[in-house]
Structures are given as C-alpha cells and as structure tokens.
Symmetry: C2
Subunit: 157 residues, 2 copies
C-alpha cells in the first residue's frame, strides 16, 4: 500500500505516524490473510471461532457485536463453522429466539492449532529481529490496543 511516503509532511507528526501504523497493519494482515491450509479457516472464521472458544457460548448477536459485524454476516460465518463441525447452534431454553453458539471439542483444538500456525509465520520472522526491535513491537502492540480501545469506546458511545 502506501508505504513510506503517504501524507509526507513531517514524519514525526502524529498524523504521519498514524498513517504509517495504518499502512503497516494493512500490509501485515494482507500477508497473514490467506487461509491457513491446515485448518482451511479464513481470518474472520478463525476470529469468530476464537471468541466462541474463549468467551464461551454466546448468542449469535453477541458474537456479531464482539466481531463488530452485522448479524447476517455472523450468521454465515457460523454456517461455515458449523458445516466444519467446529461450533454448534443451540436454541436457548428460556428464550426461543436466541441461538447460542458453542465451540465443539474439535473447534477448540482446531482453533488453537490454527491460530498458532497462523501466527507462526510472523513469529518465525520476529525471531530474526534484534531483541530491541522485538521489545519495541511488543510495547507498540500494547499501546495500540489501548488506543484502539479508546477508538471503540468513542465510536460506540
């Protein structure tokens, strides 16, 4: 994508840094996007599965909200995961409109391995970095997450 020079101006500006961070994120995800051949799961599916696994059984709507996606979109993602035997739909006992998405055993193990594998390529590259650079990345991730949380808060408000 844009690379070094978008919004060139003064490179130390927050705007310039925002631009570069944005770029880097796009590039990274492009690289990691391709389906993990081992699991056959795309990023959105793996991501949804991840929430199902770690946040326990969730309603479809809640899952959609967690993934910041509309219900129909999540409905299809769940279709795919269900087809693969990774999650199950359960009707709620008390409120029959609700559908709880629960990860299966298979879903749990596939998710773990899939995510590990997905990130493995990145990890392998990181291993080649100078330790100081690795530290910088770790710190940046933490900072970014807090920034993103702020963004999300201001948006949903």
């Amino acid at each position: 994508m844009t690379g070094k020079s978008a919004i060139p101006n003064n490179p130390s500006t927050h705007l310039a840094i925002a631009d570069r961070v944005h770029s880097a994120a796009i590039h990274l995800l492009r690289q990691l996007r391709r389906a993990d051949d081992a699991t056959g799961l795309s990023a959105p599916r793996l991501s949804a599965l991840s929430v199902a696994v770690f946040a326990g059984p969730l309603t479809l709507g809640a899952l959609a909200a967690a993934e910041q996606v509309r219900p129909p979109t999540m409905s299809r993602l769940v279709d795919a995961l269900e087809r693969g035997g990774l999650v199950e739909r359960e009707r709620d006992e008390v409120d029959a409109r609700l559908i709880r998405i629960r990860a299966t055993k298979k879903g749990v193990s596939v998710m773990r391995r899939g995510r590990a594998r997905r990130v493995a390529r990145l990890a392998a590259q990181l291993k080649l970095l100078q330790p100081a650079h690795l530290v910088t990345l770790g710190q940046a991730a933490a900072i970014l997450d807090s920034v993103v949380a702020e963004l999300a808060a201001h948006r949903t408000q």
Copy 2:
C-alpha cells in the same frame, strides 16, 4: 475477535508477541474500516491510489506487486479508480504491453483528503499519547514493514 487470551504462554516470547501484534492489527483495522465515507473509497482502492500518487506512474504489475495483490485484482481496482477519474491508464511508448497507471490531479487531491480523513481518528487518539509511546509506535511501524516485506519475499519464493 480473539483478544487477550489466545496462545497465552510466556508473553515475552516471539510467538506471544506475534499473536499480540496480529490481534492489534486486526482490531485497529476493524475500527478504521468504515472511516472514509467522504471519498467513497474503500481501503484497497485508497491504498492503491496512494501508491499511484506517491510512487509516480507505475505499471499495473508493479502496482500489484507493491500492493501484494495479483494482477487481476489490481486490474479491477484500477478499473474502479479510473471510472472515478482518479487515475489514468497509459500505454508505454517503447513496450506496448506495459500499462502505466498515473494518478490524475483529482486523484491526488482526493487521496490526500481521503487518507487524511481515514487516519484522522487514529491520529486524534495518538495525539493523546505520551511522546515516548508515539515514538515507539513509529518505530514499530517501520520494523513491521520490514518484517512484512520478508514475509512477502519468503512466500512468493
């Protein structure tokens, strides 16, 4: 998406850092995704336009490579940009197979405004950070870009 707990392990491991960086990137882009109703340009289009603007006239293949995308994909992105009057296709004088993609005046200005707007929300948050954190993010972006370039190289091989 996945959040804090995927592959938790030792947080200082390159694998753990890879996971956190990956997470952070996903979260960030989800937040920024809708950003640019003003230009009507999607992220991939804005990104391609950005390269066309800043890396000067480029062949379609080079643009595809820069965007880490296959030629047919870029061909369609360029179609859309051309329809919007943001870029032009020019046949090369000496080698008639080549097509140079050149940003128009309109493309340049739209890109600047669009991208600025897209990143503006992020930039606004960054402004609230401690200067040291801002520096860390800037460095991290640079490091990440080189890492991603390596990833791309190894994958294409």
